[in-house]
Amino acid sequence: MRVPIRMIGIATTFFWIFLIAFFVSAVYSVKDVHFDFGGPQVSLTADNEMVFSLPVSITNRGFYNIGSFNISTEISDKEGFTITRGSTFIPVINKNDVATVTHNMTIDFNGLLQRDQNYLLNDTELKIYEAVSMRIADVIPVQASTNFSMPWGAPLYNFSLAEPAYAPYNLTHFRVTVPISFENHAFFDLVGDMQIRMYNSTGARVGRARTSLEGYANSPYKGFIEFYVSMTGTTPTGRFEVYFSTSVFDYGPLVIHYG
């Protein structure tokens, strides 16, 4: 009986040595794995969707390959509604190798505005969940995750149309001047067109006009729009309907009452 017991002892010792050596070397090699995150970039697709790109470089100087490397990002609003999520997967990062990927996330701003126009007019906070997971030595799964908030700057913050100023143009028409003001708190420039339709108190359209918009990021905008309305249709009260068509989004009508 002594020989089998001794054999069990030898086998156990061998496997313990192997297990401990593997575990310690796998943990030790983690310190030789480096992550470099480049500066985030924003671009527009042909469908007017915003694409956030984050270049990531992973340098594996450890003893083992890294398997199933995954970066996941989820952006949600204060109520927990998921605005977008993105995921980047690398099956294997070999030892002594450098892997460079671009982590992309696409935001359909038009779809977002359909849900809540507050993103257009009010600053808010977005919740971001970021997770990086991998398999060290292809065996030990590790995941690091974090939550943080990011301020969202509204592109048409504090958008307002002042009271229309009427000036006689001819015997039948007024020239109406409407001052426009807002602050572009967004990280992107607002370039496009704005269309205004003026309705009187009976709901009849009395005039309309189009103007170009150039609201630079983090800058206030002040301008005006001029158009002509019939003297007979004009009433002291009514409403404006404003339509925006920019490189990032199309939105309208935004209803603003006057008088």
Binding site: M1, R2, P4, I5, I8, G9, A11, T12, F15, W16, L19, I20, F23, V24, S25, V27, Y28, V30, K31, V139, I140, P141, V142, Q143, A144, S145, T146, N147, F148
Partner: protein
């Protein structure tokens, strides 16, 4: 009188040899821990309490090695070997929290899934436990045979 004196001397020599063997084993085990710790040291900066956790394990394990060695040649040696195997199983389960090891560092949550490692370590510990039980049975059966002869 001379026989009693010889017997006493033999016992002292025997105990001294066992103590020496236990000391050498203890020092050897600590040396292995010391070498391995050099590799794990960078991780201990990220994982708070890792050093304390491993040191506690090493201390208790060395105590069990020494006591097991001092009681060698008796049935108690196998009791301590069983205790050692059970201690490894219990300590791994408790310290690794069932294999899913999580910690929060500032705003970052880190989760390490050590279930595969834990399962292999459990199997090896159970093998060690079985070995100790077999050794105890073997010891008792050999003792019974000698007594009969």
């Amino acid at each position: 009188m001379a026989d009693t004196n010889n017997d006493f001397k033999k016992r002292v020599r025997n105990f001294t040899f066992k103590a020496l063997k236990a000391t050498v084993k203890g020092i050897l085990f600590y040396a292995i821990y010391f070498v391995l710790w050099m590799f794990l040291a960078p991780i201990s900066e990220i994982v708070p309490g890792l050093q304390q956790m491993i040191e506690t394990f090493v201390m208790v394990y060395i105590v069990l090695i020494i006591v097991g060695e001092l009681t060698s040649g008796t049935i108690f040696q196998y009791f301590f070997n069983v205790a050692k195997a059970l201690f490894v199983i219990g300590y791994l389960i408790f310290s690794l929290k069932g294999g899913i090891f999580g910690l929060t560092f500032q705003n970052v949550s880190l989760m390490v899934d050590l279930r595969v490692f834990l399962a292999i370590a459990m199997l090896l510990s159970l093998l060690g436990l079985a070995k100790s039980v077999l050794q105890a049975i073997n010891y008792m059966s050999e003792k019974a045979e000698y007594t009969r002869i």
